[in-house]
Each structure stands twice: as C-alpha cells, then as structure tokens.
Amino acid sequence: MTNSSKAGGFAGTDSYIATRDLEVAVNASVALGRPLLVKGEPGTGKTVLAAEVARALGQDLIQWHIKSTTKAAQGLYEYDAVARLRDGQLGEAKVHDIRNYIIRGKLWEAFASERQVVLLIDEIDKADIEFPNDLLQELDRMEFFVYETKETVTAKHRPVVIITSNNEKELPDAFLRRCFFHYIRFPDREIMERIVAAHYPDIKANLVREALTLFYEIRDVPGLRKKPATSELLDWLKLLMVEDIPAETLKSKDPKVVVPPLYGALLKNEQDLHLFERVAFMARRGQ
C-alpha cells in the first residue's frame, strides 16, 4: 500500500494493489531492462499497471495503443513521401532535407527522452501476427536504423517496457523469450477488499461486504459470456454510492427483486442478464 521503500523498486501504490508475484516480475524487468509482458482477464488492471509503475518510479509514461492495422514500423518512424512529393511540386525549400518528412513514432520518442520513461505497448495481440517479430531487435538492443537518413537511433536510457496482451493471438516464441511474463489472476476476496479500499477509502464496510458477495455470486454463474471483472465492480460500487443504495437492498430476499440494483454496470449483454435472472430466481425459490 505504501510507495516503494527500496530506491527504484515497485511495490504497488496507494491506488494500485500489487501482489508479491507482480512486484517481483516488475522489479526484475526494470532491473534487467527487458520488456514485461502482462496478460490476464479483461478488466483486471493490465493497462493501469503501466501508469502506476510510471508513478511509482517517478517517470513519464508513453503509451502506444495497438490497433489491428498498426505496423511495427509506425512505432519507430514514418516517412511521409506524399507530403514530400507535394512540397516538391510546390517548390518549397524544406523538401531538400528528408528529415522534415520523417515523423517520429512512440518508440523513437521513448528512446530520445532525456530521462528514463515507461513505455506501454497496449494490446499487442490486436496487431498482425508478425508484429512482435518486427520489434525483436528494437526491444532487445533498444536501437534501430533509419534508412532515409542513414542514422542509428539508440536509447539514451533503456525505457521500462510494459506490454499487455488479451490473448487473441499467440505471440511468437522468439519474442516471448526476451520478455518477463506475468499473468494477472483474478483477485480473490481478500485482495479485492484491499483494492476497493484503495479506490474508495470511505465506503461503508457492510455495503462492500454485501456487494462483494453478490459480485462473486454473479461471477460463479456458469456460462456467462463476459464475467464482470475488477473494473466493472469498481464502477458498480461507485454507482451504488452515488445513488446511496443501502446495503440491505443487496441482500433482499424479496422474490420480485432478483436482479441487483444498477446491474447494467456488471452484466454487459442481455443473454447474460437473462441467464443470471434465471439462476437467481431458482436460487431464491430454493431458499
């Protein structure tokens, strides 16, 4: 819960609860200057981790969000040939220096920074299957070559690289070999209580207790398409607090009220909602 005691170490922050295995993985990857690959269920705080590491280490965060069309080269630089052609036709003076048409990517930005930064490569699995391979050299040696200007860009300080993946594609072995790996497990009740406490320090204890019971009940319903995760729970608790819903409502045994209040924050499609209604109804009737 406290900021790191060791210099340069990561030990969770006041708003981010890190388990010991996550701390070890982060610290090892910082110490060896190798990327950390983070996987886990959606909504368990993979992306937030990078921001929190940056905060704990007192560094800037550079985010590179990957889309299905993103190419590895875009993270290094892009050469805007069309603009140069156009300028050539208009007879502009800057056309003679190719450097004016090279647009720096996120990786270059991170390499060029005067201080060490945290670089987040978010959802790397969204991109093409070859994407990670194209970044192997760059992430390993932390340098790359710009063909247009014949210069080599080398990192002034090896950035702390954090990569997240949602498991939509297998990542190549050669890439994995160079990374540290951490799988964020879904937090158990005890850790979840600490997470809630970190986010909403003045929430009522009995509301949390009832809400968590209900939350884990919903997660246990077999066959849900999208199980609610930490981020959904936090949203839901916030709504409950804003609407000032008493804890008693959550454990209401009234057979007419089978669906928890403000369920929209937890269940995101109507099949799941129907399924939950059915299961909850059967459970109530059985009592």
Partner: protein, 394 residues
C-alpha cells in the same frame, strides 16, 4: 546452478531456452528479490514461463524439484504437525477412539503413514478413495484429521506457507489440455486466416502512388487499394442427434466461436454420416433438406470443409446402401463422404469423443481411414492441429 531444474521443465513440455535460463541467473545477480523461496518462485515463474497454460505444469515441476528446500533454515517440519496433531487428537478423541488408533499400530505408525500419504498426495493430486479425509474410507478421516486440519497445523511454520503458493496450483484451469471455452477456440480458429484484398478501396497505396506519380511526370496521382481482410470460407457440417447428444455443449461452443470468427461460414446438419441430403435447420430436417450435390455446387472447392461428429454408429451406415437409420439411401455413406472429400481438398473431421476410445469403435476407425488421418479430437490442441491441416491441400 539450476540446470537440472531447466531439464526437468523441458521434460514436462514447458518450453524453456538457454536465453531464459541466463536471464534468470542475471536477475538473481541483480538482487531484485530477497532470499526467500517464495520470491525465487515468483521470479523463476516470470522468467521461465511465458504462457499461462503452462504455469500449472511449472508449479508441479517446481514442487517436485525443490521439495525439501523449504525446510532450509526452518524448524524441522515433521515435528510440528506431529506435535500439533497429537495435542489435537488428545483433546478431541474419546478413549475408545484412542484405542482404535492404538490398534492401527500406535502413534508412530499412524504418523508415518500419514506423512507418507501427504507426500503422495502432493505429487499425484488426483486419486481414489485412499486419501485422507475422503468419504470416510480412510482411517484418518474418521477421527477428524481432514487434510485442511493438517495443513492448518503446518501453517505454524512460515516456510510451509511458502510452499503452498505453488502447491495450490491456481493455474490449473488454464492448462491447454483442459480448458475449452469459446474464447480459446476462437483463438485456435484464427490460425485459419487467409488475408486478401477485396471490396472498397480505402487505404492509400503508397508504392502505387509513387509509381503513378512518376509516370505522371511528377504531378501527384493518388492510388487507393482495399484493406486486407480475412477471406477464408468455411463449410461446417455438424452431426446432430443420437449419440451426439452427449457432446452438445462442446459442439455448441465450437459453433459459436466459428460463427464470430469467420465472415464466410455456412452450416449444415447431418445425422451420423452425410448422405445425399443435408439440412440447414435441425427442426426442419424432413421438409427443408438441401441435396448434397447442390451444396457442393453452391460452395466451390475454395471452401474449407469441417465435419463435426462422433462417427459412432453401425458400420453399415457407412459401407452399405440403405444403411442409414432414417431413410433409404441409394448410395452408401462412404460414397458420399468420398465425394465430399474429393470436392473439398481442404477438409478435416473434428471428433468430440475422447481420443483414447477411438480404437474401440469400428465405424470410427472406418471414418478415420476415409479421412486419411484428418480426424482430430475436439480439444484445443486438436482444433489447432485440424486447422493446421486445413491450410494444406490434400
């Protein structure tokens, strides 16, 4: 230093390379972790395992390889639970029960057996009715020594607790051979992607633009091209009813995953073996069937054919005309299946039955022969193999 551990991991199919081993040693040298077993376990896991499906295997190897390590620097473990148990037992057992314990051969014998069983339990983890605390068939369970109780006793030692982190085997569900949700199937189905450019031109074709501009005497001529899309086409034939009822859930998962993954997906149903008719909706199987030749005409050989069925039936349903259980078929199932396979060079049969039982069903062996080794089990690895086979023409 841990070369033996690396070998042990590799023997258990956890792919570890020299690079990772060196990284681990490098990380230990930097001293990022304290000198506790638990931290070492976390560090080794982050360094050596790169796939959550392998973490369970890693945990098992770790538990076996480093057994005994947790005792270093700690109290002598064996004494603690024994002491603890003795006290507990003396407090809770009636004199008659004490006598029963004595009849087993006395305390020492009892404790020996207990310790031995605990060790076995840790290594094997699954088992019959021999283990402590299961359904009263073991003498231990009857006197209230359930495994939880014993473990609580061991919690008296700090180092014991550390062991439990990997002994808990929290990543068991993620082992590749076990889990089969739609998400993982989708993941496997992605292997079948075949990219192509079709449809509206929306993307700037840089090379084309430069070429055209040059030909145009230097004045800018923009060229656009369509985006890359997955253009693989899949024809899915599902066996429905009868013996397939046991496999409805897995098949439904496969189907729903396939539906969201492929833009070009057509589904038909058959019963036991495909004959001259297939149907689109199972409810209307008797009045709205599509002749198989029509299906083959509509969907050309560029489609990939995936058959899903347990191939469990009477062998006559495959080999003999008129063998179908539902109607009179002029030509045998074998003829139709061969016709389909000739028409679709990319084909695979996915079978939801346990692969170990395949050899016991004659019809299954027949279909397997007809498919020429292109039958795969309905597991993640099986689907993976099937899709790999689909990428190559026969």
């Amino acid at each position: 230093m841990f070369a033996g551990f690396i070998t042990a991991l590799r023997n258990e199919d956890v792919p570890v390379s020299l690079t990772e081993y060196l990284t681990l040693i490098g990380a230990l040298k930097t001293g990022v972790v304290s000198l506790s077993v638990e931290d070492f376990y976390f560090l080794a896991r982050a360094t050596l395992v790169k796939d959550e499906r392998r973490i369970d295997r890693f945990d098992r190897v770790f538990a076996v390889y480093f057994k005994g390590l947790e005792a270093i620097g700690g109290e002598i473990l064996a004494d603690i639970p024994e002491e603890w148990l003795r006290k507990l037992a003396e407090r809770y057992l009636t004199p008659e029960e004490m006598a029963a314990v004595q009849s087993l051969g006395g305390w020492d014998k009892l404790m020996d057996t207990l310790r031995q069983r605990l060790a076995e339990q840790k290594e094997r983890h699954q088992g019959g009715n021999k283990w402590i605390g299961t359904a009263g068939t073991s003498p231990f369970g009857a006197y209230g020594y359930n495994p939880e109780g014993i473990r609580i006793g061991q919690n008296g030692s700090r180092h014991r607790r550390a062991v439990k982190v990997w002994d808990k085997r929290e990543f068991r569900d993620l082992d590749g051979d076990v889990e089969l949700g739609t998400r993982s199937i989708k993941l496997a189905l992605r292997r079948l992607r075949r990219w192509g450019r079709e449809g509206e031109a929306t993307e700037l074709d840089l090379g084309g633009t430069i070429g055209a501009t040059a030909r145009n005497g230097g004045s800018l001529d923009l060229k656009l091209r369509p985006e890359r899309r997955n253009k693989v086409k899949v024809l899915l034939l599902l066996d429905i009813g009868g013996s397939m009822d046991d496999h409805v859930e897995e098949t439904a998962q496969l189907f729903s995953a396939a539906k969201s993954e492929f833009k070009h997906l057509e589904t038909f149903y058959f019963h036991n073996c495909p004959y001259e008719r297939l149907w689109r909706s199972n409810r209307r199987r008797f009045d709205a069937a599509t002749p198989t030749p029509e299906v083959m005409r509509t969907y050309g050989p560029d489609w990939s054919l995936i058959l899903v069925g347990d191939a469990t039936m009477s062998p006559y349903e495959i080999t003999v005309p008129g063998g179908s259980v539902e109607h009179w078929n002029e030509e045998s199932g074998q003829v139709w299946l061969e016709r389909l396979l000739r028409h679709y060079p990319r084909s695979a049969w996915i079978n939801p039955r346990d692969q170990q039982l395949w050899g016991f069903t004659q019809s299954l062996k027949l279909i397997d022969q007809l498919m020429a080794k292109r039958m795969f089990p309905l597991t993640l690895d099986g689907i993976d193999d099937a899709l790999r086979a689909l990428r190559h023409r026969k």
